[in-house]
C-alpha cells in the first residue's frame, strides 16, 4: 500500500505527563499538544509514543489513547506522528495500522541498520500510514536511496553522519528531516533539510521555530547567532549525560516552565539537584525562564 504525506517543519517529540501514581494526565497532555500546535505554521506536528514518551512503559491501550488525544487536541493539518516499535515487521505493521485507526497521520520507525531495508519494505507493503524512517550514522547511501524510493516512505530522518551525502542519496524521493540539536542543526536546515524531529523541541518550541524561520529566510548567520546565544545549551542540558534516563530532564524543563505539573516517570526516575540546576541554567540562557 502506498500512502504519502508532505512533511515539513518542526516535529517535537512529546513527553507523557503522569501523576504521582503513574497515571496519564490526559488534560495536561492535550493542553501541551495544543500549545505546540499554536506555535504556527512552522510546527508541522508532534511525535507521540516515542522513547521520550516512555513508550516501553505504556500499555498498548494507552498508546492508542495518546494518539486519539493528540488527534483531538490538534488542528486537522497538524501531523500526529506515532512512534512504533520496529523490532520485527509483523509487530510494526500491526502497530502502524492500530495507530492509523486512532487517527495518526504517519508512523515513525527506527529499524536497526542491518535489517532496515527488509523491515521497511514489509511495512511499506502492508501498512496504512505514511512512514517516517529514522536512521543513524551507520546507514549507507544505497539503503537511503532504496528507502526513499518506497512508496509509503514520506520522510527519512537522519541522526548523525554526513548530512550532505545523505541528502544527496535521498534526493527528491522523500522529505529529509534531521534529528540534530547541536550546532549542525543550522547547517542541516540551510543545507536542504525539510524539517527536524526534535527531542528538545517541546522545550522552547517558539525559539526553535524562530531558528527554523531564519534558516528558511536564508538568514544563516542570524540563525547561528540565535543558536549560539540561546539554544546551544538546551540539548546537552536535557540529555544530561549518559546516566540520565530519556525524558526525565525534558520533563523537569517542562515543569520549570509551568507547562506540565509533575516530572514523574513510570520507572520512578527523577532528576538530581545538579541536573535540575543545569536544566534551569539552560532555560534561563535560552530566555525561557527569568534569570
Amino acid at each position: 500500500m502506498t500512502v504519502s504525506l508532505k512533511l515539513e517543519g518542526l516535529y517535537p517529540e512529546v513527553v507523557t505527563p503522569l501523576d504521582g501514581n503513574g497515571a496519564i494526565l490526559e488534560r495536561e497532555f492535550i493542553m501541551y499538544v495544543q500549545q505546540l500546535a499554536r506555535v504556527g505554521w512552522i510546527a508541522g506536528g508532534v511525535v507521540v509514543n516515542g522513547t521520550l514518551a516512555e513508550r516501553p512503559d505504556l500499555t498498548p491501550e494507552e498508546r492508542v489513547r495518546l494518539v486519539e488525544r493528540a488527534r483531538v487536541a490538534a488542528p486537522a493539518d497538524f501531523d500526529v506522528i506515532v512512534a512504533v516499535d520496529a523490532d520485527d515487521a509483523e509487530g510494526a505493521v500491526s502497530a502502524v495500522n492500530q495507530a492509523a485507526e486512532a487517527g495518526a497521520t504517519a508512523a515513525l520507525l527506527r529499524p536497526p541498520a542491518k535489517t532496515a531495508r527488509a523491515l521497511v519494505e514489509t511495512v511499506d507493503a502492508e501498512a496504512t500510514l505514511p512512514l517516517v524512517i529514522r536512521v543513524g550514522a551507520d546507514v549507507d547511501a544505497e539503503t537511503l536511496t532504496q528507502l526513499g524510493g518506497l512508496g509509503s516512505v514520506s520522510a527519512i530522518c537522519t541522526d548523525g553522519g554526513d548530512f550532505a551525502a545523505q541528502h544527496a542519496a535521498i534526493g527528491e524521493s522523500a522529505a529529509h528531516l534531521t534529528a540534530a540539536d547541536d550546532a549542525s542543526l543550522v547547517d542541516h536546515l540551510v543545507g536542504g533539510a525539510d524539517g527536524a524531529l526534535m527531542a528538545t523541541a517541546g522545550v522552547g518550541t517558539v525559539a526553535w521555530a524562530k531558528l527554523l524561520r531564519l534558516c528558511r529566510d536564508g538568514e544563516a548567520d542570524q540563525a547561528r547567532a540565535l543558536f549560539d546565544g540561546q539554544l546551544a545549551g538546551l540539548g546537552p542540558a536535557l540529555r544530561g549525560g549518559q546516566d540520565a534516563p530519556r525524558g526525565v530532564l525534558v520533563k523537569e524543563a517542562l515543569v520549570l516552565q509551568g507547562l506540565i505539573s509533575t516530572a514523574g516517570m513510570r520507572g520512578g526516575d527523577v532528576a538530581d539537584d545538579a541536573q535540575r540546576e543545569d536544566v534551569r541554567t539552560a532555560l534561563v540562557a535560552a530566555g525561557l525562564l527569568p534569570g
Partner: protein, 409 residues
C-alpha cells in the same frame, strides 16, 4: 438620548488620526485612544481596513473590527484557538481554563462552573449583593460626593467575587491589588509576572485548606470537581482561579464605572431609570454595548483561513475589536446613540459564542442592585471634576477614579 460627553468622538487621537499609521500600528492598549477616540479610530479601521495587520506587541497581530467577522471567529473554535486570550499574553504558562481552553477540554471546564454562575443561582444572590451595595453606599451618601469607582464599583464587585471564591475578608484588598497589577499592568510587565506568581501561591494555600475542610465556595467546588471521572489537578484549580480573579470582578467594576459616568452625563436617562427601575436591566445592556470595557480578546489561527478577503496563516494572532463590533452600523442602527429600547441588542460586551462570559449573570445582578440602590437614594448625579477621572487601559478598560457629586434624596 444624546451621545455621552466623555465619548466625544471629535477629540484628536494624534498619530492614530493618520490612516496609514493606524492601519500598520493599531494598538488596542494605547493611552492615545482614551475617551471617545477608541470608538472613532476603531470605527475608521472597520470601514477602511477591517482585517489589518499591526506590528504592535512583539510579532504583531491582525486587528479584526467588523461584527460579522468577529462573530465568525467566535463561533469557530476549530479554526481559532482561544489561547492566549490577550495580546500581549498575560504571562500564565498554561491556558487559563476555561477562557483559554479549546475543544475538547473547553466544555468540561465550563460545566464545573455552570451552576455557580447560572442565572437562578445569581438571582438568588441578589439580596447578598444588595446588602453589600447598601453598606458601601451608606458610607458616602451623606457626603454628597464620592469617588464612585473606588467606593462602590470596585469594592462591591471585589467583595462579591471574593465571597464566591471563599477568600477571607482580610485578604480581599490584597487580591484586588494583585488583580490590578495583572489587568492594568500597574507595575509594568515584569511585575505582572510576579503578580501571577503571587496569585498562584495564594490559591495553592487556599485550595489546600479547602481540600481539608470544604466550604460553600468556588475553590471548594473546584477541589471536589471532576471531568470525565478525573479530579482537577492543583494546577488546573490554580488556572481557573487565575482567570476568575481579574475577570470576575475587575470587568464588572469597569463596566459599572462607565455606566455611572453615563448616568452622570445624562440626567434625563438617570431620571427615567429612577422613575421606572424595570428599565435598568435593558439600560445596563445598552450602556455596556456602548462602552465595551473589554475592548476585545485575542485568538490564534490554528488552520489557514481567509477572513474578509485576507489570508491568515496558522499561528497568526488576532485581536477581535469588540468595541468596533458593538458600534458596527451594519448590526446596530445609530450605534453612536444610547438607546435603552434597542432590540435586539446582541452586543459583544460579554463576548459571543461558546466562550460567552460565564459570569454575565453575576455581573448583571451586581450592576442591577447597585443602580437600583443608588438611584433610590440620590438625585442629580453629576461628574465632580472631569479632569480627575482616570481611565485605565489594558485587557479591560475602565475608570479607576470617578469623582461624582449628588443630592441625597
Amino acid at each position: 438620548m444624546s451621545q455621552p460627553q466623555f465619548w466625544n468622538p471629535d477629540m484628536p487621537a494624534g498619530r492614530f488620526d493618520d490612516p496609514e499609521y493606524r492601519r500598520e500600528h493599531f494598538d488596542h492598549l494605547s493611552e492615545d485612544l482614551t475617551h471617545g477616540r477608541y470608538i472613532r479610530i476603531s470605527g475608521a479601521m472597520r470601514e477602511q481596513c477591517p482585517v489589518a495587520h499591526s506590528d504592535a506587541h512583539e510579532d504583531g497581530f491582525w486587528s479584526v473590527s467588523r461584527y460579522r467577522d468577529i462573530e465568525y471567529v467566535h463561533m469557530n473554535l476549530e479554526e481559532f484557538s482561544s489561547c492566549p486570550v490577550t495580546i500581549p499574553p498575560v504571562g500564565n504558562p498554561r491556558p487559563m481554563a476555561p477562557i483559554e481552553s479549546d475543544p475538547p477540554l473547553h466544555k468540561g471546564y465550563r460545566r464545573i462552573l455552570t451552576d455557580v454562575f447560572s442565572k437562578p443561582t445569581q438571582k438568588g444572590k441578589e439580596d447578598v449583593y444588595r446588602a453589600m451595595a447598601v453598606e458601601l453606599i451608606e458610607q458616602f451618601v451623606e457626603r454628597g460626593r464620592c469617588d464612585i469607582a473606588e467606593e462602590l464599583c470596585i469594592p462591591l464587585t471585589l467583595n462579591a467575587l471574593m465571597d464566591a471564591l471563599g477568600v477571607p475578608g482580610p485578604d480581599r484588598a490584597m487580591m484586588g491589588n494583585i488583580a490590578n497589577r495583572i489587568v492594568h499592568r500597574t507595575g509594568g510587565a515584569d511585575d505582572t509576572v510576579l503578580a501571577v506568581g503571587e496569585l498562584y501561591a495564594y490559591f495553592t494555600d487556599l485550595s489546600e485548606q479547602r481540600r481539608a475542610d470544604p466550604q460553600d465556595d468556588i475553590v471548594s467546588a473546584l477541589c471536589t470537581a471532576e471531568i470525565e471521572g478525573t479530579p482537577l489537578s492543583l494546577i488546573e484549580i490554580l488556572d481557573v482561579c487565575m482567570i476568575l480573579v481579574p475577570a470576575g470582578f475587575e470587568t464588572t467594576a469597569s463596566s459599572m464605572s462607565y455606566m455611572f459616568l453615563m448616568l452622570a452625563e445624562q440626567p434625563e436617562l438617570a431620571q427615567r431609570l429612577r422613575d421606572d427601575p424595570s428599565l435598568i436591566p435593558a439600560a445596563l445592556e445598552e450602556m455596556l454595548r456602548y462602552s465595551t470595557p473589554v475592548r476585545g480578546l485575542a485568538r490564534t489561527v490554528v488552520a489557514d483561513v481567509e477572513l474578509s478577503g485576507q489570508k491568515l496563516r496558522r499561528g497568526d494572532r488576532l485581536h477581535l475589536n469588540w468595541l468596533a463590533a458593538n458600534h458596527d452600523p451594519e448590526v446596530f442602527d445609530q450605534p453612536e446613540v444610547i438607546n435603552i429600547e434597542r432590540k435586539p441588542n446582541r452586543h459583544m460586551g460579554y463576548g459571543l459564542g461558546p466562550h460567552l462570559c460565564m459570569g454575565l449573570h453575576m455581573a448583571r445582578a451586581e450592576m442591577k442592585v447597585a443602580f437600583e440602590e443608588i438611584l433610590a437614594r440620590v438625585d442629580n448625579i453629576r461628574p465632580e471634576d472631569v479632569d480627575a477621572i482616570v481611565e485605565s487601559t489594558g485587557p479591560t478598560w475602565g475608570l479607576t477614579h470617578l469623582p461624582i457629586t449628588f443630592d441625597k434624596r
